[in-house]
Symmetry: C2
Subunit: 135 residues, 2 copies
DNA sequence: TTCCTAAACGAGAACGTTTCTTATTTACAT
DNA sequence: ATGTAAATAAGAAACGTTCTCGTTTAGGAA
């Protein structure tokens, strides 16, 4: 009846989208993006699978922006820029985060370092310009 | 009737605690700490004032740990270590975050950088050791 | 095919954190 | 004393996220 099996395995669609996009989406954003193609997709499924992928290390959480958790399908450690205006998260290319820091921190704390997040917070060009406009 | 005016201005007590403590507390932690001294303190008051101080730049948000926002009364930019086990946040002393990075990022994005957060995530010594124990 | 089992899912309830609303209290100036 | 504006307590409400449970699906066995 159906030409493909695409109505199954929404899980794969969720991971595929995370891998491909650069918007560092929230659960809601993933849901909104996939809903047209998978009309019977449930928000719970998105949450469930994001949580699973995160635990398996296939995706990474970037923490929350205004109370909403954001994810990144690119698990290679890199630096992010968060715009407080439009809430966009963008990758910052090629900023060297001294690898020696990890060892230094391990030495200081005596614990175990899993990840290191370097995030710049501010306003993107567009939002910075908006700032001056009339309200 | 009352010897002091200490039952007023809980707002000040909240800020004072943030300034003094190193536990990088959540709203709940602030509330729990101040409740004995201010028995009629309300959790809503803590949230309201934390939010106000944050907006005024008098304190800083460190983001959320397991869904709970954490604050720091020390607004001097510095590096943090978050233990995923006990959820403790500790300051990391004197790790140089190249100041030139800000300018580099400003150049890349064309926007405005407000802050730069460098956070290490892992397990503190105590929690790392617990890991091996029987469950 | 039909049956069976385990995984995946949808729908909505439940949960915990945070924000909002409203009435009360306080501080201070009149 | 009285008026006024800010601060507060209490609890309701909102929001994002997780959980529960009954259903559907995939894939293997008979």
């Amino acid at each position: 009846m159906d030409t493909t099996t695409k109505q199954f395995r929404k899980r794969n669609a969720i991971l595929a989208y995370l891998r491909q996009t650069k918007e560092h989406p929230s659960a809601e954003m993933v849901f909104t993006h996939l809903k047209p193609e998978y009309p019977d997709l449930s928000l719970g499924t998105v949450y469930r699978n994001l949580s699973m992928f995160k635990n398996k290390g296939e995706i990474v959480s970037l923490g929350t922006v205004n109370g909403v958790e954001r994810f990144d399908g690119n698990t290679t450690p890199h630096v992010h820029f968060v715009c407080m205006g439009c809430e966009a998260i963008t990758d910052l290319p090629q900023i060297a985060v001294p690898e020696a820091l990890n060892q230094q921190v391990t030495g200081e704390t005596g614990g175990v370092i899993d990840t290191c997040q370097l995030t710049f917070v501010g306003k993107c060009q567009a939002c910075a310009n908006k700032k001056g406009e009339a309200v």
